[in-house]
């Protein structure tokens, strides 16, 4: 380290000689903070997304590095949000990357007092069996006047309103083909 660099590393010198006389900006910066860069600039790529909380529809940029999400920020291009996010939207990175997220299928048998783990494929097959059985158990061909019903009252569903349109589409389509009519959504509530 040269003498000049050594002197410049002294904040008081920078404060007295630089353009930060109050010592609240660059003059007080440590080498570590001077070397810090935004995660948004070092990301490999950006996915253009939308906030999953309320219905304003604020645009989000999701920054990805090494296959992991490193930051989520508002997209300034959006005519709706102009880059802004509220406390919830700003916490979306924690929402999607936090340790609270469940990763495994869990199963609670009848009368059990704890969860047990279950293989995803097995669980899907078990649910398929149960849908077929509940569908038949609750099947109604006609009403009391002989009008055709062609439905099952054995299966119900309640969806949240963070489901994608494409997901809702397949859910309604499959329920309808099953003959299940009791499919509802937060939109009712």
């Amino acid at each position: 380290m040269g003498i000049r660099t050594w002197i410049r590393s002294w904040p008081v010198y920078r404060q007295l000689t630089g353009d930060d006389p109050l010592g609240r900006g660059t003059a007080a910066q440590s080498p570590r903070s001077a070397a810090l860069g935004a995660r948004t600039t070092s990301a490999d790529r950006t996915a253009r997304s939308v906030c999953p909380f309320c219905a304003v529809g604020c645009a989000q940029n999701v920054y990805v590095k090494d296959g992991r999400i490193v930051q989520i920020e508002g997209d300034p291009d959006s005519p709706i949000s102009r880059g802004r996010l509220c406390p919830k939207g700003s916490a979306s990175k924690q929402l999607v990357t936090g340790p609270q997220r469940e990763r495994k299928v869990l199963y609670r048998a009848p009368y059990a007092t704890e969860w047990t783990e279950l293989d995803l494929d097995t669980a899907m097959d078990m649910v398929t069996d149960r849908v077929i059985e509940a569908r038949r158990k609750g099947w109604q061909d006609t009403d009391a006047h002989g009008n055709r019903l062609r439905r099952t009252m054995g299966i119900a569903g309640l969806g949240g309103a963070t489901l994608d349109n494409e997901e809702n589409y397949l859910i309604k389509k499959l329920f309808t083909a099953m003959g299940a009519v009791q499919i509802e959504n937060q939109a009712r509530i």
């Binding site: 296959g67 398929t128 054995g154 299966i155 997901e167 009791q182 499919i183 509530i189």
Partner: protein, 886 residues
């Protein structure tokens, strides 16, 4: 009104503050002084549940001072239309309209029709079934029918005929005086008059005003009529279809608008097509006929193309003209199959399996105990969520485990928990609150067993088809014939892009995507999953994925995302121009008729047939879109006009009328009819009501309770109570009370209190604040309190479930629960726990004299009282308790 926009839609609120900075006046009319009030020019308080009285007062002010935008009102609304001679108004019948049947608590709306239009066949359906049929089937789906509305409806352009809509309106609202508004709402007269003055002065040719609402308006037993009341004000003032005008619903979830458009709702098919009804639409012909009654105007006339294209998308090649395009494969509805009915059916042992898809009803739905007891009485349940929500663990740690009402070792429900992929781990569209679809790119893959709901249901469908392959059972045909071959990527993940293309629709003769719903055909040569979304893939491009920066386009930003229908940003924007097609004023220009080019043009996409001139008069006998005159801006309506008076389409009356909430501390000062006479009540022992006048003992629950959200949390908490930042920002459940109430009840700031209703008691920390102001109502002081409702027993921060305080009483048109107002008691200290809690609440019920019939006698005018609407009970203890099954 009914919205705390600054708190619940904070980023949208930037436009309100910006408008204010440019000189707009902002009024916040709400029971609570909130973060929105703090930024408004004025907070106008009112008693929760009285907004129709307030808005009725505004309508009366407009009409009695001749402040309506007469040219707009005459041309674009039904003000001059003449109503049948046998119509009787709430004025004549002490709060009821003609056609009321106290036995079924429903209306026959025949007499509400225009003089020379016919009632539809449904209006004269068997009356005992009318409420079930109409509520379930008719409303919220397609447009209300008015047979013959394309013909010449009798009118009086001078607006003097005593039976014209304008005069009916005038009589109906005459008693909604400023003094009456003060008596009902508790709003000081000068506050109310100031709102009237500013609202009317800021409307007309040169200026427009907007109304914003949220679930503060919808979650009431008269919620649809709240919005109708605002629509009447806005139509009278010429604030619909114009820039800066409108009635804005601020919806609460990322795709709740999408969940309505492409519904997962029992009474709807995609695009507001109704589910078929068992008794009235047994086949395709009758179904289509029901949607487009004879001789109507408007675009519902093409319902045949919409439904046939949907059936082609559902059942592909199996759907042929010979088999009515598999219409018969659709299951039929015959009444109330809404979520609350279903939960009661679970308790009664009629439902076996339940899917919860990103939803936490143990915390988020009214009457949490009912929800949890329902779940505890199933064969099996699937929960798909990001985190381990309360609805997945009710069997081991719900409040009922503490009270002994659920015993884990005796609870038979089998529970499957599937971890879900988050919004950044899958692609797809959300539809935000202004009907805009925005495409999300996938950022990363989900890990472990996390999957999208798209994957889950696609897989379930594949497995069901595989399991049933070879079945000769006729009831399996709809599954076996189901078109389910969507493209996949990354292994077995279905392509949301491909699903969106199918939603948009295809021309099956060429295999290309269609450009709009105008391309759809009723002959089976097109397919389309949701007709109103048709055009989202116009020109083979995912229009929802467009992100042209805002600085590179005009204020309407037509190249950002895609808005249904056909990228029109302001609905019914033909009304922004006068009869001749010229903007009402240069300042408020939006779309206009370009005489030279012979087409409509402007800043927005015109919501009108592009080449139909403003002076167009259709030939006699025309129906559907071709029957729309050049000055009929409301192109989905049967008569092309904005409805001040609704001759059809609502179950609880043609005009908004103030009724007290289901649970209210006061008698309705306006009419003998206390509450909505058609509200849906479920008289069951497990669903008790707090008494309301004229029933005795309402003083046991003397205070008005409302609930709301905080900006730091999200609804039932699944996406916020597990997030450290958000939990730290708002860790505790609290109850806001006024200093006066705190003194009266001995409540200490930051101390504990508990709130009691006939359902349960809930603990909360006390926040004493003058944000809550006692109101003077009918010479007595009414105290209001509120709680946020985000907490439950799990997560980083926990608290009692506020929704446990509510019972189930529903709005009759759309079956939404009344969770924005109830009555309660509040006491210092914490509530009893375990069995003692049950005893404590039982004592309250006894003091209030609550029986099975409390709250179920919905008709209260002289001579009509006495009919209670209760459900049959199973034995002396009422519905079966889940532990009895073990």
């Amino acid at each position: 009104m009914g919205s705390n926009m600054a708190e619940c839609h904070p980023v949208g609120f930037q436009w309100v503050t910006e408008a204010k900075a440019r000189g707009a006046k902002v009024f916040h009319i709400d029971p609570r002084f909130t973060r929105t009030s703090a930024l408004a020019d004025r907070h106008v308080p009112l008693r929760a549940g009285t907004d129709i009285a307030f808005l009725g007062g505004v309508i009366n002010y407009i009409l009695s001072h001749d402040l309506d935008f007469r040219e707009y009102v005459l041309a674009y609304t039904n003000a001059s239309f003449i109503v049948r001679e046998d119509y009787r108004d709430a004025e004549d019948l002490d709060g009821l309209f003609s056609g009321y049947d106290p036995e079924t608590a429903s209306y026959d709306p025949t007499t509400w029709q225009y003089e020379n239009t016919e009632p539809t066949s449904r209006d004269s359906a068997r009356p005992q079934e009318h409420k079930e049929e109409a509520a379930a089937y008719e409303h919220g789906a397609h447009g209300p029918e008015v047979k013959g509305a394309a013909g010449n409806i009798a009118t009086d352009p001078t607006l003097q005929h005593p039976r014209c809509v304008y005069q009916i309106l005038k009589r109906h609202y005459a008693r909604y005086t400023p003094e009456m508004v003060e008596e009902v709402c508790g709003t000081p007269k000068e506050h109310f008059l100031r709102v009237c003055e500013v609202w009317t002065a800021n409307s007309g040719r040169e200026r427009t005003s907007a109304v914003v609402y949220s679930v503060g308006w919808t979650q009431h037993s008269t919620g649809s009529q709240y919005i109708r009341a605002a629509s009447i004000v806005q139509l009278l003032l010429g604030n619909i279809g114009r820039p800066g005008g409108g009635v804005f619903a601020l919806r609460g979830h990322a795709s709740i608008q999408g969940s309505t458009d492409i519904p997962t709702l029992f009474n709807l098919l995609p695009g507001y097509l109704p589910m078929p009804s068992a008794s009235t639409t047994p086949d395709l012909a009758s179904y289509i006929e029901h949607i487009r009654a004879d001789g109507q105007k408007g675009f519902w006339h093409h319902a045949d193309a919409y439904i046939v294209s949907l059936l082609k998308e559902y059942w592909g090649d199996a759907a042929t003209p010979e088999n009515d395009f598999c219409f018969d494969y659709l299951p039929r509805i015959d009444g109330d199959h809404g979520t609350y009915r279903t939960v009661m059916d679970m308790i009664d042992g009629k439902v076996f399996g339940y899917f919860l898809l990103g939803q936490n009803p143990a915390v988020g739905s009214a009457h949490g105990k009912l929800q949890r007891l329902g779940m505890a009485n199933l064969d099996w349940m699937v929960v798909r969520d990001l985190v381990m929500i309360e609805s997945a663990t009710f069997w081991k740690d719900s409040p009922e485990v503490e009270t002994g009402e659920i015993v884990p070792e005796h609870c038979r429900t089998e529970v499957f928990f599937f971890p879900a992929a988050s919004h950044v781990e899958k692609e797809g569209t959300f539809t935000q609150t202004q009907r805009m679809l925005q495409w999300r790119e996938k950022a990363v893959d989900p890990v472990g067993d996390q999957r999208s709901d798209l994957w889950f249901f696609h897989q379930l469908g594949l497995r069901l088809k595989e399991r049933l392959a070879g079945s000769t059972d006729e009831r399996d045909r709809p599954l076996l014939d189901l078109a389910w071959d969507y493209a996949t990527h990354d292994g077995d993940e279905p392509s949301a892009d491909d699903v969106l293309r199918h939603i948009n629709g295809h021309d099956l003769t060429t295999g290309r995507v269609v450009d709009s719903y105008l391309d759809l055909k009723a002959d089976g040569t097109t397919s389309c999953g949701c007709w109103i979304y048709s055009g989202v893939y116009a020109d083979g491009v995912n229009q929802a994925a467009r992100r042209k920066p805002r600085r590179e386009q005009n204020l309407y930003a037509l190249e950002w995302g895609w808005v249904w229908p056909l990228n029109r940003r302001v609905l019914y924007n033909r009304a922004s121009a006068d009869l001749q097609g010229r903007p009402w004023s240069e300042r408020k220009a939006l779309v206009w008729w370009d005489e030279e080019r012979g087409e409509w043009t402007g800043h927005d996409v015109p919501d009108f047939e592009p080449r139909k001139p403003p002076g167009y008069v259709p030939p006699p006998g025309a129906t559907g879109p071709s029957a729309l005159h050049g000055d009929d801006p409301f192109i989905m309506q049967a008569d092309g006009k904005g409805w001040l008076f609704a001759p059809a389409g609502l179950l609880d009356g043609p005009l908004p009328t103030h009724y007290e909430p289901h649970e209210s501390p006061v008698r309705n000062p306006l009419y003998g009819q206390q509450g909505n006479p058609t509200r849906r009540v479920y008289g069951r022992l497990d669903n008790p009501s707090n008494p309301a006048p004229p029933e005795p003992h309402s003083e046991v629950f003397p205070y008005v309770l409302t609930t709301a959200r905080l900006t730091e949390h999200h609804t039932a908490g699944g996406m916020s109570r597990w997030v450290p930042y958000l939990s730290e920002l708002q860790p505790y459940l609290f109850v806001e009370v006024s200093p006066e109430l705190a003194r009266a009840r001995g409540l200490e700031h930051m101390g504990w209190a508990h709130v009691v209703t006939s359902r349960t008691a809930v603990d909360a920390r006390v926040m004493v604040t003058d944000r809550m102001k006692p109101l003077r109502v009918q010479d007595r002081v009414i105290h209001q309190i509120w709680l946020p409702y985000h907490w439950g027993g799990s997560g980083l921060v926990d608290g009692d479930v506020v929704n446990d305080l509510f019972g189930v009483a529903l709005e009759p048109n759309v079956f939404i629960q009344e969770t924005k107002v109830t009555t309660c008691d509040v006491r210092p200290g914490r509530r009893p726990r375990g069995r003692e809690l049950l005893d404590y609440v039982t004592r309250y019920r006894e003091r209030a004299g609550i029986t099975l019939e409390t709250g179920t006698r919905v008709a209260t005018t002289d001579g009509l009282g006495g009919v209670s609407h209760t459900e049959p009970t199973k034995g002396p203890d009422g519905p079966r308790r889940p532990e009895e099954d073990a």
